[in-house]
């Protein structure tokens, strides 16, 4: 998992750098007049913004892939599944215990047994 955290840190840094570049491009575009001319600063600046945004999209997808791979290579899914199976088994156990009242009747049986033994004592006959 330590590797994953480092990867995520690098991912965040890459994202922040791209976002900073995009903000700079936006700042540049704010100061240039609109133009359809392919040679204009406006069109060039927008092309630059498109490239950065495409990089951001790819970065988002690669981050998801890295996490998907990290999950695939670990045992976390199995760990959580085991945990929920245990919890489910406990829930079933309690539910079944309620149906059989074994725990409670056992206490009463114990009491009844004591009384029966007392009744069997010779001095009570």
């Amino acid at each position: 998992m330590a590797t994953k955290v480092n990867v995520l840190g690098a991912w965040t840094q890459a994202r922040n750098t791209l976002v900073q570049n995009l903000a700079t491009t936006f700042d540049f575009l704010d100061d240039v007049p609109f133009s359809d001319d392919p040679a204009s600063d406006f069109v060039k600046g927008n092309a630059q913004a498109d490239r950065i945004q495409d990089q951001l999209r790819l970065l988002a997808l690669s981050g998801l892939k890295q996490i998907d791979d990290a999950v695939a290579s670990g045992t976390l899914v199995q760990d959580i599944s085991d945990l929920s199976k245990k919890a489910k088994a406990e829930a079933d156990r309690i539910k079944n215990a309620a149906k059989t009242v074994a725990g409670i009747t056992k206490a009463v049986d114990l009491v009844a047994g004591v009384v029966t033994k007392i009744a069997g004592l010779p001095f009570l006959k």
Partner: protein
């Protein structure tokens, strides 16, 4: 709480009977917190966690669909020559070994230029992790269920208890020589007491097991939360980027019209209204990154409450964390509907 039997009162040897039955009740009451607040909190945590996981699954599916669409559009735009792979013919003669080895051939499409076709991402492992967390939430919900169902089952099984009490009554009759009718009210009191003890026992069991599971599961849940938070960061970037791309197109359209002296005021107004609306949509997008962090924080608070035997302060902190979690989950679900439309025309 007297269970003295017979008109002559109880014999010395029977005193432990009342004490033992009282002990059952006392054990159930004192051996752990049986306040329903803890179980309610856990149940709510489970429900909101499931909602959050479902929302993330929908967003991942939307990203997969968008990327699939992009890949297909590029194939068409580039006029890529697509052909059937030889495996399509091989499907006519499947192996009949009855085993998975070798795997049965599957018909696929290939590029005639020999380059491999790009598959859309599926994120099946992240989805599996989300599903596992959701199953965990389901189990917590089942454990945190109101114990009234147990009580119903318990009441339905009182025949076993009645048999035991019958045996007890018979033994008592033999000891005291008393008459059965006179002992009946006392026996009913015993039955009621035992039934109450049973109910307390089941409520206590649910709380006890919940605490144990939550404490034991916390490290695993926190690791899952870390990974799913990372996935949310990717999802957020992808979705926001798509919305911003759309926003830029709308803004550039408004600038194009503004730069043209012939643009009517009506057209200008429409373009600028569209820009204001797009900005509002963009700002409404709720960051999902906090959702799984909120799950982690709420689970941590539940662990603290469990360790402190659900003390009032720790329970209050857990409930606060769950309310925050519910808020972030609600924001996400609210945002999802308009956002999905943007996914398909953004990136």
């Amino acid at each position: 709480m007297s269970i003295q039997v017979g008109p002559g009162g109880i014999r010395p040897g029977l005193v432990p009977v009342s004490r033992k039955i009282a002990l059952v009740a006392m054990l159930a009451i004192t051996s752990g917190c049986i306040s329903p607040a803890f179980r309610d909190s856990v149940g709510q945590f489970g429900t909101v966690t499931k909602t959050t996981v479902t929302a993330q699954g929908q967003q991942l599916a939307a990203i997969s669909a968008t990327e699939q669409e992009r890949i297909r559009a590029q194939l068409a735009a580039n006029r890529v020559d697509l052909v059937l792979a030889p495996s399509c013919a091989e499907t006519l003669a499947p192996n009949d070994t009855g085993t998975a080895d070798p795997p049965a051939p599957v018909c696929t499409v290939a590029r005639a230029d020999g380059n491999s076709l790009t598959d859309a991402p599926r994120y099946e492992h992240i989805l599996a992790l989300g599903a596992a967390l959701s199953a965990y939430a389901d189990s917590l919900i089942a454990l945190a269920a109101d114990s009234s169902q147990d009580q119903k089952a318990f009441a339905g099984s009182l025949s076993a208890l009645a048999t035991s009490l019958g045996g007890l009554d018979g033994a008592i009759q033999r000891v005291t020589g008393g008459d059965r009718a006179a002992s009946q009210p006392q026996l009913n009191a015993v039955a009621t007491l035992v039934a109450e003890a049973g109910n307390l026992y089941f409520a206590h069991e649910r709380s006890r097991v919940l605490k144990r599971i939550i404490i034991a599961g916390d490290p695993t849940v926190q690791r899952a939360v870390d990974l799913l938070t990372g996935a949310d960061a990717g999802i957020d970037l992808y979705n926001r980027n798509a919305l911003l791309l759309h926003l830029r197109a709308t803004a550039n359209n408004a600038r194009r019209l503004a730069a043209n002296p012939g643009t009517s005021a009506t057209a200008m107004r429409a373009a600028q209204d569209a820009l204001f609306a797009e900005v509002a949509t963009y700002n409404r997008y709720a960051a999902g990154v906090q959702r799984f962090r909120a799950i982690g924080a709420a689970h941590t608070q539940l662990v603290r409450a469990a360790r402190a035997n659900a003390s009032a302060a720790d329970l209050a902190a857990a409930i606060q964390a769950i309310i925050h979690l519910a808020g972030t989950a609600h924001d996400t679900v609210t945002t999802l509907t308009p956002e999905q439309g943007s996914n398909n025309n953004g990136n």
